[in-house]
Amino acid sequence: MDETVAEYIRRTVLKIPRDEIRTMLQTWGFLSEAQLQTLNFHQTKDNVSQDVVQLCEDNSADIKQAAVLDIIYNHIYPNKRIWSVYQMNKTGEEMDFFDLTDFKKKFKRRLRSALKNVTINFREYEDNAIWIRIAWGTPYKKPNQYKTSYVVYHSQTPYVFISASVLRSTLPLLCQALVVASNYHDIREMELRSHCLNSLKDIVFKRYSQTFQTYYPKPLQERNVAPENVDLRIIQENRNEKERIQRVNREVFGDGPQPKLEFAQYKLETMFKSNPKMDVLDIKEPFRCLVKFSSPHLLESLKSLAPAGLADAPLSSLLTCIPQKARNYFKIRERKGFFPGSFVSP
């Protein structure tokens, strides 16, 4: 077995948390159950990984099989990478059946025709997600297994989720191969990025909770009916306001959990409006500034601002339009017209 393959397997096993190693090796399926029984998972991870490499040596693993283990690891821990969303367009109305074998063949052929030294692996999952792992080489060097890009594509949708590696120069090749394989015409990057792949899927596939007005009776969940025997001396002075805030919040954000985003970035190119006596304004140029909101869970924290009394309800539509517009990078320019204001560029 190749030295590089052994080292790659060893490093991949080291990344896996100790409790998950056994299950992941089972999902991988390359080592038999009998071989897995011989492993002692309680020793140090270093030793465990060495033992796994030894077993793989016995089974003569090659780089393709090692790559499958890497895909399985990244599928279970996708949040360790940053994912961008790309949207494809096609002008025709033909409905296609999406033949998976055809897709794979076209993708490999297109990519290999541009660059021979690539390792390409596919893996399909139950939710119609196709995971593609690509390890990039150069025209003169073998593929570097540590410089990988991942692509997640759901058939018959125009969205692709890409976690590019450090090699941004390979992105155009990757995009072109995707467009050709999926029978679309072109592809563009959307202004939507996050660590949480499932939340990105929720946003573009519209799987997050939106409130729609319907007559269909939904169970009344959070109606806090005040108990009858409350102390009469305690008066809630702004109960109406509190209820209004709850109602407006629910209309905007819905009842369910929000998709998980880590940041929203607004690039302002607007004029500075303030006291005309300040010298800064003599220059009639847009005042460039960048506002970035960061949070472990941005949308949940925005949802809790108004009930916590930290902001007025309703919140600015620039913040609340994020899932609806499917973007978290904005450019705000001056609106040219009768009413000075700002408008968001498409």
Binding site: E93, M95, F97, F98, D99, L100, E124, E126, N128, H154, S155, Q156, T157, P158, Y159, V204, F205, K206, Q210, F212, Q213, T214, Y215, Y216, P217, L232, R233, Q324
Partner: protein, 280 residues
Amino acid sequence: GVLSHLEMLEAQAHELALKQEETEQQEEKLDRLKARVQELRLQRDELRAKVDLQQKRLLGKEGVVTSGVPGAAQPSDRAILEWKVKSVQAMLQVFYLTGISGKLTKHGVCFCISTAYEGTYLDSYHLDLITKPEVQIRRHSVPVFIPLEQLAKKYLQTDIRRFLSALSDHLNAYAGRRYQADQLQERFSDRLEGTLQRNSLCNMLVFNYNMSGKKQTFPFSAKLLYGDLCRSLPTEAIVSCTPGAPASLAERTAAHSDVFRRLALHKAFESFSSPEESLD
């Protein structure tokens, strides 16, 4: 000299003493008034509680009077209102069950399309439309692989009924296809080789199967193509047999293809296990 100075000091001390007395008196007065306010508040609360109690007693008496008298069929206003509300709710429920229901919003209409397949209610999808200046879709929860934009371009401005009906057909057919595929995997997994290959729209299914779960081999291979997105039955069913299989099995492929095109997937598999089929 000294005496006049002393006099002055004495006068000042006197003044200060007076002032201090004044402030003390004022504070005392304030405290008394505060205490008085507390007393009055307590009184007010007690009186309020008494008034509430009396009102409740009065209402209670009325209730007793009207229901105690036999034959006096005068239902109270409240009962009539409750009946009206219940009947309206039932009407709205009926509309929901028909599959397309809507509600006017402040900028337009919000439609709810609910899907069903052979008596089982499946998911609902919503469309939030604005009506001025022209009909546009503001928000929706339709899955991304349903050709919503194409349908909207064709019908939304001109014939909204046709738009809704076409969208409802697409969604119901998709829900039906997905339901069949799920049923096949859940109930007949022993007759399938592994999982079946499908796509997002569930309009192409590929699987290997046998006719009864006891066998280990899966001689048949099927590829179902649903060319019409508004139908939940395949337009094409290509069934083939593995080359080494006995002739008796190979003869059945045409019959199977026909069954797949006529019956729902899970019903088709049910028919395979009926006595006539397992005669090999």
